[in-house]
Amino acid sequence: MSQEAWLTAEVAGPKKASLITKPEIADAMIRRAKRPIFVVGSIAAEIDLEEKKLIDYVIAMAKRYNIQVVATGNTNNEFLKRGFTPDAVMPAVDIGNRLTDPRWQGVDGKGPHDLAIFVGLPYQMGWTILSGLKNFAPNLKTISLDNVYQPNARWSFSNISIKNWIMNLEAILVNRED
């Protein structure tokens, strides 16, 4: 597994995401986080993961881990269709901007988030917003749960197959059930 950007040319620089080589890594990070937040983009509802969509995993995880959810783009609609109400609806760059503000008290106003989990944004949009966070949110950890390498996250999968991806997402969910 390698640290190659999914879009070939989107090389970041010296500071690159560590690889989530096994689901336990993501699991541990989420577990350790006190105030995690999910940033869920419009593609989450487009991607088929066998019988489910990516967004279904997001909902399951958000519930199980008790993670607050920000729906970007028009993803809110898709959440609502599934009977899940996100904690906030906001443009991706808006939530990104707020996450760089150490005084921002989070979507629920109860204190700064310490972990942001990105999923389902258009690749380059995720790339650039994570770049903003990498550089300007030193106290925030970030994970990308997409199946492509996001060099600007703190942790990311490498470019993995859909099958492998499902396995990982399932494992994260299962782990939590323990």
Partner: protein, 782 residues
Amino acid sequence: MGTKEINISIKEIETEIGNIKDLRFSVGRLAQETWDEPQGPTPFPSMSTLRNWDLTLLNRYKPFYLPFCDLCCLCTFGKCDLTGDKKGACGITMPGQQSRIVLLAACIGAATHTSHARELVTHLIEEFGADTRLDPGGLNIKVEAPITRLVCGMKPETLGDLEMVLDYSEQQITQLLACTHTGQEGNPVDLESKVMHTGMIDHLSMEVADIAQISSYDLPKADPNAPLVDIGFGSVDTTRPVILVIGHNVPPSVEIMDYMQDNELIGDIEVTGICCTGIDMTRYSSKAKIIGPISWQIRYIRSGIPDIIVVDEQCIRTDVLDEARALKIPVIATSGKNCLGLTDRTGDPPEEIIDDLVSGKIDGALIMNPGEVGVVAVRTAMQIAPKRKKKKSGIFLSPAEALEMAKECTQCRECRRACPNDIHIPDALKAFSRGEPAMLTGIYESCVGCIRCESACPQEIPIHSLIVAAGEDTLRNESFKLRAGRGAIQDIEIRQVGGPIVLGEIPGIVAFVGCANYPKGGNELAEMAIEFANRRFIVCTSGCAAMTIGMYRDEDGKSPYEVYSGTFEAGAIVNVGSCVSNAHISGAAVKIASIFARRNLRGNYAEIADYVYNRVGAVGVAWGAMSQKAVSIAAGFWRLGIPVIVGPHGTKYRRMLLGRSDHDEDWYVDDTRTGEKVYVGPVPEHLFIAVETKEEAMVMIAKLSMRPNDTSRGRALKLTHYIDLHRRLLGAMPTDIHRFVRMEADIPITMKEDIVAILKEKDWKETVIPDPTLLPEKEAFP
């Protein structure tokens, strides 16, 4: 003012430097002051003159940086790693570097328009004389050049006057570019202020370019009923000789059409255009045809239909010569700015050039005299077309060929990893080679024609050609109507809509402008334009966006331009013209302040910008923005306080200018009536924002059209659109309504119950509607 060429010869004259004999001189520019508006505080501002205004805006809309690279490589101290709080060898920080890159891009953009304007004005003066009167709108326009008046404090009357404006633009660009040098400005906010200055200069130069060409070539003069012209691949009669022009600078194309006219060839030859030259050609002659925006270059050249390609400047693929050569289409370069390595044949006898081109002795020629281009292009096309007939018949890959090629695919995914839109090419090819073309056909719509996929393919599959082959039916069916670019907005139109706009009763002006780097095809743009026209916004458009909007058919087979009015009024779709015509959109905002509100325009930038910012609900949308010009155009809107929305690729512009709706303290204005500070809510909430989807864009347009000055009726109307779109597209009521309701009367009646409930929950308190300004020093201005 106006200028006159005067030659004076004096036998003897007493002057303060003594007695002069036999003096002869010519006065190139003799100012005839005919403008009685008093000069404002900031004519010809330097890059620091309006800094306070910029800082005021930037204090609300702080840059959110999205570094597009961890590094700086601008000088050979580097590369420098700037991640986090590291500094470069020159001391620069990551925020400084990002703003510096934005400034650099804006300078490139502004230089491009300015240099285009200079080339145009110089040519037009040579051809028509410096005395040629500027006349962008006949009797319907008194404020002929609102941006020039505003920025320079002068009133240009002739082509010659415009040279002075360009001198100023060039001087400012040089200064601004200097700021990007290693070891100059490193403060991010100051760099952003310079970006705004660059944007202002850009609009100035665009205005110069467009009013010069409108006046000289008699393009539509602020004409709401400019003719409907043909657009689309399918509108070309391929049995005739076909000339393709690409670029932005119209004189060579004008000469082509004039030569045809003079030689009674109109109708015998098709003159087709891509990018803004296409647009401007159709403003000159409604016989010319537009193929499409920038992304149509490869598909059209590869069709083999053009018999000759004439390129001028800007937005021209740099591989046009290679692509043309492969099909033996000769190329004429016409600008020193884009020589393509071709031999300079300017001044050679046309016959010789034509022979060389027709015989294939040369691939192309550089001809920097537009008149000569006209002759050579037309006659070469006529001679070469019959010879090329055969080639044209085989314009697309046959299904069998395409299938064979698709089968070469090894599913390595390099193409998809090279595609800016992450298009699922490998899947589509797999399906295609199994006999299921639908997915590949679908890609035709979202492909921006960059052919990076082809570069990346180790199997050397001509992927784009496959896509176009799969989309052949769509392509052949591309035949629509576009309303030719009308140019400026009439004073009377401004007078009529000024009140409703400023009071908020026309919900907004939304301008769809910019390039064609669409994330999911151009239909999204047309759909947005239609949505807002239906909502009785004033929809303006220009450039590639204007073309894209035209390339759409409703159920009746009509293009939006056939359905919607071209008058600057509620519910219209107004095509102002090419990229440089964007100045008429900012100009319209400025004219509202001047014509409707009777604010002094002259050299009075900050006051007018403050007016526009607080009162004119204008929003720019550059859905496919890609270029450096897009940066400078956007920056020109920002400085006027007009927010700009870009598509998802827009995060690559290095930073957003976002407001913080949750920071109440950011949203106070001075009430000029009372002198008090009044909370007005986050209106407009952002100055520059990239959004992810069409749906989000539409909600954002509605939201950003609110202004502090809205009357309650206006605000209620705007809120209705905002809430309605939010509910329909995002599935729920917005949660920030309380920030936009200032008093109960602001609440849309139909939603009263819901909203009142929300307001209660949010502890909402009533406030007042001020006479808003952000200029505390306002009283200092005349």
